[in-house]
Symmetry: C2
Subunit: 459 residues, 2 copies
Amino acid sequence: MELRIDRQAPVPVIQQIVEALTCWLRCNGLEPGARLPSVRQIARINLLSQSCVVEACERLVAQGVLASRHGAGFVVAATAAIAHTEAVWLEGAEDKEGAPSCELQLGGGGLPESWRETDDLAYAIRQVSRTDMAGLFNYSTPLGLPALRGQMLKRLKRLDINAEDSQILTTSGASQALDLIVRALFKPGESVVVESPGYPMLFDLLRLHGVSMLEVPRTPQGPDVAVLEALLLEHRPRGLFINSFHHNPTGCSLTPGVAQQVLQLAKDHDVLVIEDDVYADLHNGPGKRLAALDNGVIYVGSYSKTLSSSLRVGFVVASNEVIARLAEVKMISSMGASRFCESVLACLLANGAYRKLVQRQRQRLNNDRQAALQQLEDAEWEVFGKPTGGLFIWARSRMSDYAQVRIQARRFGVVLSSATAFDPAGAANEWQRINVACACDPRARAFFQATARDRPQAF
Amino acid sequence: MELRIDRQAPVPVIQQIVEALTCWLRCNGLEPGARLPSVRQIARINLLSQSCVVEACERLVAQGVLASRHGAGFVVAATAAIAHTEAVWLEGAEDKEGAPSCELQLGGGGLPESWRETDDLAYAIRQVSRTDMAGLFNYSTPLGLPALRGQMLKRLKRLDINAEDSQILTTSGASQALDLIVRALFKPGESVVVESPGYPMLFDLLRLHGVSMLEVPRTPQGPDVAVLEALLLEHRPRGLFINSFHHNPTGCSLTPGVAQQVLQLAKDHDVLVIEDDVYADLHNGPGKRLAALDNGVIYVGSYSKTLSSSLRVGFVVASNEVIARLAEVKMISSMGASRFCESVLACLLANGAYRKLVQRQRQRLNNDRQAALQQLEDAEWEVFGKPTGGLFIWARSRMSDYAQVRIQARRFGVVLSSATAFDPAGAANEWQRINVACACDPRARAFFQATARDRPQAF
């Protein structure tokens, strides 16, 4: 069992062992009860100390992946099989083709596991557990912890979004923010405009609530304004959902010109604009948010993409009236967010650790994005638009037989994004969401090279 | 500023100072920027060490209640006013009459702050932050953490509820469990039966989703079976929500006879039964759950009432088919629960701390319940039914002028439960939900005595 531990990596060795063991277990499909190689053996082959290996195994016991059996060392836990099934389900949420889960998620929607930094977060968690007793027990306040909302408002001010304290509501991730907006502000049978391609979960949410979707094509500059105007004239929709900056899946941001036109159209046709800006902190460049240009815009943000998806903290900024309606649905449907998690986030925002974290992430993403664009160019892929920030590039291979692209991906252990998820109606297309943080992995490089080699001579 | 610190109480002194200061700030209505008495002064008057007072003030700074101003010591923070408004909103969710919030919540729905025990929970939080890296960052699995679900199933087995691993889904508190059930299994325009009196949040949820409610009166033995049968015959509702044990607000549990009749009626009329059992762990007596008698029943549980409302962990047990539908809506609307919080709860269930905690809570509640029933008897209140477990007694004063009861309550700083919240249609009545954990407080004793003195001679 060779674990490929990188002692130079910023990720602690024990965490690397945990991840490598998890990957090894999944790839080898061991049955519950199956015995692992001995700790001594794993340590010897990988030049590790036995205590590190034991610690890693103990963590996997705590996670329910392994069990410790007296005399037999560590064995696969009875629940590990379910963990595996679920992992596939979760990772396959956007690609249901069932690829084995230790492959490279080139089309994945988040930062890779190896980018996550534990120290500051663990410190904040311990800090809150020592000092904020209310955080351990109580519900949060309906709008969210005041100290946290204060920190959020400071960051928004730097984006020229000026809101009062009563205009910001914390949510359980951006998912709950969108859910509350759909439930509180739209009725089944009404219609809204969504971008195509766009965010799959939003499409699911709208379908769940019986709201019909009108598709506006997303260009590299933002929604296609001519189509938008025609839709507004013909169908009189009540809302417009826009992922303004570092758009999922194209990575492109709204230009100032398009932003102005969109807002004017929304005003003329009395349409509620919902701005999804969950990738905001992954870029620090110029560009005004819609909510900075028009205070009638409902603005959605999140910390899941940068800090942790586990804390489940996002937020909405809107008028007092809208926030009051959203807060009511939030309280009825969930009694609010986890106060503990809100306290942890407030601590990281207040002590500056979050700011430094996203600075590191931006720097790293900028480097990776350049490298990824170069690779795509070398492989002669068509790039939709060159993003200046965020996680994604939207691109397609010029191979004549598109099935071959997926075959090559499988060959190199690369999981591509879904061919249908980003289309509101579920239509298939050949564009791929490329996660720039994964594009420099050797598997991705090999995959891109293979698609270059196999391209027809015409290109 | 006299803080009344009790050095014999199990609550740490610093926590007591935090609570007393919060209470003092609220009651004195200080404006943002107003200066607190000096640390030295507070320490001297209350015979406390200055370091304890400073630590307590620092915690209030972290909570956004105080600010630390150089040269001026501690002052009221700019956000404190909002914290106050929100606290009133939250506590007033069931009583919007706006009582000042350092009064006794005699009608409150949870255990008092002073009952909460921090050590085990803080230990588990630190443990998870040290060992479970995935818990710090990742989404949980769609059904919930396998290790946690395994522990939940063990506890359910002791209630004779036998479910497979794929039949349990974690949720963000029982609130999300009920929300998912309403959204995934019922359509707007359909009707369901609810108990009257019953759980206010359920009524709000059903209204939000456009599901109409048919009321079955709750007797001390359970729902009135004759009325239930008539409703099923006349209206053909699709669902029946029952809070089977230690019912909110009456405190009474379903008898075995009524349970059998309810299940038979549900079977005959093809009605989905949803059993809300969030108070289960506050009693360990006999009595079979509906879900133990019929595996078609959908069962809802929670850890908010015993361990912490901040972790936001509840669960649903149902058939594979129903769980799959609920999980889908859960993922679409919230991307699942906080994996970190799920890991913390799993740790407390595994190491036995949770089991010991609820044993202590039950013992204490049993004593308090006896004392509360005695007080009600002395004050000649009418008791709806004598509960054998849980948090509540449902009772009403025999005072002829009922407004006088509320006046007496205000006089002694006692906040009563809402007169209308427990009725599905919002009708007013004279019954009170008495939280037994608060009934022995001197303010409650004085209030009950006053209602006894003022009763008419006829009684």
